[in-house]
Symmetry: D2
Subunit: 342 residues, 4 copies
């Protein structure tokens, strides 16, 4: 019996990636596809890589169009999900790929997004302690941000094992698809090719409170996060370089042991063999997270580096993984750890 | 009952792409993986994107290692396939991803490769007239070159329908993976990023006689080919811009009709809607061929442009498609027309 | 005594490149800089690479602002140059980097641009026969298009020496800066990185009649041009692959001789040693044209490949070279044949 | 009276960049160019962007060839400079672009390079306190590493003004030219395009002790450095994201004031206006350093980001700047703060 899924916001990068994955998910039947400014257009012109859906036409994002589905994925601009979700009824699984329901503290939401807080839904990062259980049977899921996915998975084991102090320093490089498909001058190919540049420096990026939330939960105490995102000349991928000061007595072995333990049973997280480091190319198009950790004795810090595909594990793949759990399917159904390289 | 497949040459780009596809092929079980200089190494260090095979160790390419498989894929340097194939016995399906058995004229082989001709095997481009039938039940398959795949599919309908004169002009851009994984200075990232450059200009590229062979067969008469390959700053993809002088009486409609007819039942070839043109990004990682044709009235030429992924439809996907046919499986088994974009 | 130069349209790519060159031109003093939507903004935010001009503020493009200069460069959208030029008086050197005054046939202009023809100015490609003399002392200069620069220089010697038939086939790859700085979705970094795609296929590109004009002049008879432009994943550079059917009796030597003769005294055109082919990386940021020619005996065609930087020799460098000639300065003043590589 | 300069190691990226700059230096005449494996080859085939030197032939790196110059630049593999320098006599200015003479502590050298320490020469980063004076009239100059250039300039003002604690955390992204021109598989275009990856994680990168040396000197006390370099998919450029915990009482204003003071008179360092952040594209091919600093109140850290061109200010431009000082020329002679963009 197929799960019938609608996608609200099918013309953007998150929506396109979700459709790419839904097309090969054995339990899902793709239902309504909606857009706003693009309603009425063929998908073939908007997502030319999705040949099997080329002749599908986008519909407007209305309750009528979204009715009659088992799952509705929301790939909408921030702040729009609550209104749509309300109209869908409590029995429909709603998976929000926007930010609206990720943050637990209303004050965080209001400070970073400037609008009233809509609430908090079960958080779709099952690898974090306690999160998987909360997703089972859920009817509402908040998909994590792409950076928080990469960063939280990299650092939570160090906090859970109390290996490091409660101040994390993170510098992450993201491919340009993380900035979306809206045409802005600084995202032009001419501007981004051959260039690395930072943005949201100094604590201003909206994903910061989400990282604080996740790492503080792992540590059982507040963790401060210094987060600097940078834009890299590639379409996809996040490489997150995360570090924190090591507690006394920490060794390379104790770091390794904590990470081995944290990910031993995780289908999508790969702690690499010692000496091998993650590269975003290796997770291109895959739901895998590649991680390596090191202890820098001289600087007294634990360094953890993770690589994900921001559109797959960082957005649409993560959404699907959570959908699988919520629906009681095998968590890995329709997802892969195989990247497309070179 | 699974098809047991070995891959000789598993550490290169062709071998890696084949493994990526074999991993999701529902009828195939991956058997021996061999390398030469890399024998004894873990695949995880050589192909870090293939996580499910990370702990497999490469074996040497010997008859003993390759024995006991239903299919053996050869991803070896040119000239080495014949010796290996001879040792495998007539009942094993041998799919050669090298050039050794593609050319029908021994003189062509000798002129372009400088060694004695090993023979000719059924040619793995089923979309060409007559080729699909010859592949059914075959025990030996010669996988076409990447450029000839893109070019032959773009132009054979024009020749089959006698729309154009027998002189074709082709300029194609290829991603760097087409040049392989051997470290050469001109293939360094520093050299290729931000640069377009030609090579093998003036008729010297080894894929030229293969194009001549295919187009001449379609035309039923000799076709001359002017072929200029260029190296583009991207890892994958071929964009082939092909043209020939139009016969008298040709119109935009007659061109469109010929192409619609040629590809009406082809699972992997997509003639795009009028006004939409191929882009290599749309076939990234997919076995699809995207094609568009136009009639330039002012210049009196038919222009056909095709986009493929050189590693997928141009090499490993084409190999698998032919394997499916040879084994009597559905031709599209384990293959996709969905690209990874952006 | 410095030449005082104004730049109308200083916030775009052409204007920015011109400023980059003017800053090191020993005879030029940079005067007014204008923009339209950007008037009032600091240049430092718009062209962050031009540090010496960072604190200059853009002014509106008015006759008052442009008055009092010896040279006015127009980097304006097509169709706007005539109105501005009229207001500048006949003694000011006006160098138009737009298309308005390139075409000699009004019908060509009207067909490709859809507006009344403004006229024809001396054509700023001094390497073409007769063009240099017409530029000396000129008060109005039409800077060639980027593609016509690359293509005309590649092919005119073959036509001037009657080596080839009057049908040229051209496929060119351009970096994305050729498409300008206006934010359009298909020019986003996410879309162009990793992708090659054609546009304006089948004779529709506006640069086609300009190529026809130049090659026909060289041949002394009409030359038809099949021109296919492609967008390449790099910020700058044009690689033009040009060919035409060889006349009987043509040899590799006669081709080489014609090209050696054509460019013997040209300061910016480099016919490469035999066996070496152009690459766009080698002319990055330079005013040089790198060219190589070959005779493909098997296909019976002469193949010529040229590489330029579309923003330098293809636009702003070409403009400056023509300004030098018009003002009686050494043609190479302030220009370089040294590229920035890798 | 021209300065006659020889370049030992003219075929690599550092040597090529140096030649690009020397060609436009008004006081320098380019003398002998040497290579090792490339001796006897024309420069045109090795550095095709340096057209004016295309016909120069590389000579072997011998004392005889290097004799008779005022300046000898050494762009040699680590460990080879001392032997060459000894043969050149004390009156020749020797500018070493390798690492041999950068480190003051022999133990650091031996730990990171595994060979006996050759000594310490005046350090070619004149922007650091006290370094400019030591370069004036010097006959031996050690050019800093590319990462230490970007990092030391970013952080020394914070240490000099005692704004931050003595533990610095640095994550830097470098273009691939920083890894040199030797063909290694992981540097192939196919591998690096579309990928970000770290290397030398955990304190192992050889540039770490050089940063420690510079920052400790600025702080007047030992500074520990956690340094993670990453390889970015671009040919040139370093973006260094540097941070340290703020001392109590530090404010955004005190940070800004310290940086304004540090760079007020520096010709090549540009502290950007508030709100504007560096991008490597803006310094492409230029000797400029673009810097911005912020105080993250929430995380309690000072964040400083710098962008340089690793080959220009990070290697060859820095070398030339130091040569200018050593010879008593204006420090900026032949150098530019203008980048090539887009």
């Amino acid at each position: 019996m197929a799960v019938r899924a609608a996608v609200a916001g099918a013309s953007g990068y998150a929506g396109g990636e979700l459709l790419r994955l839904l097309l090969v998910h054995p339990e899902v039947e793709i239902g309504a596809l909606t857009g706003n400014s693009n309603a009425g257009q063929r998908l073939g012109g908007l997502q030319p890589h999705l040949l099997p859906l080329a002749d599908r036409v986008l519909e407007p994002t209305t309750p009528e169009v979204l009715a009659g589905h088992d799952v509705v994925f929301l790939a909408l601009p921030h702040g729009q999900s609550a209104a749509v979700a309300e109209q869908l009824g409590p029995d429909v699984l709603v998976v929000d790929m926007g930010a609206d329901f990720r943050l637990e503290a209303a004050a965080d939401w209001e400070r970073f997004y400037g609008s009233p807080h809509a609430g908090t839904w079960p958080y779709g990062l099952p690898e974090l302690p306690g999160r998987r259980a909360a997703l089972a049977g859920a009817k509402r899921v908040a998909v994590p941000g792409c950076y928080p996915t990469a960063v939280s998975l990299a650092l939570f084991p160090a906090y859970a094992a109390d290996l490091v102090e409660h101040e994390a320093v993170i510098v992450a490089a993201s491919g340009t698809s993380g900035a979306g498909k809206a045409a802005k001058p600084h995202l032009l190919g001419s501007e981004v090719m051959g260039s690395m540049s930072p943005y949201g420096v100094g604590g201003g990026h909206r994903h910061t409170p989400e990282m604080v939330q996740n790492l503080s939960a792992a540590a059982g105490a507040p963790v401060s996060v210094s987060f600097t995102p940078t834009l890299a000349p590639m379409p996809r991928g996040i490489l997150a370089t995360c570090s924190a000061k090591a507690r006394e007595g920490v060794t390379a072995d104790s770091v390794r042991a904590a990470y081995e333990k944290a990910f031993a049973d995780e289908p999508f997280v790969r702690l690499l063999p010692e000496g091998q480091w993650p590269a975003t190319a290796a997770v291109y198009g895959s739901n895998a997270v590649q991680i390596q950790a090191a202890y820098d004795e001289s600087a007294g810090r634990v360094i953890v580096i993770s690589a994900i595909d921001n559109l797959t594990k960082g957005t649409a793949g993560g959404a699907l993984q959570s959908m699988n759990i919520a629906l009681g399917l095998d968590e890995a159904t329709g997802l892969t750890t195989i990247g497309v390289a070179p």
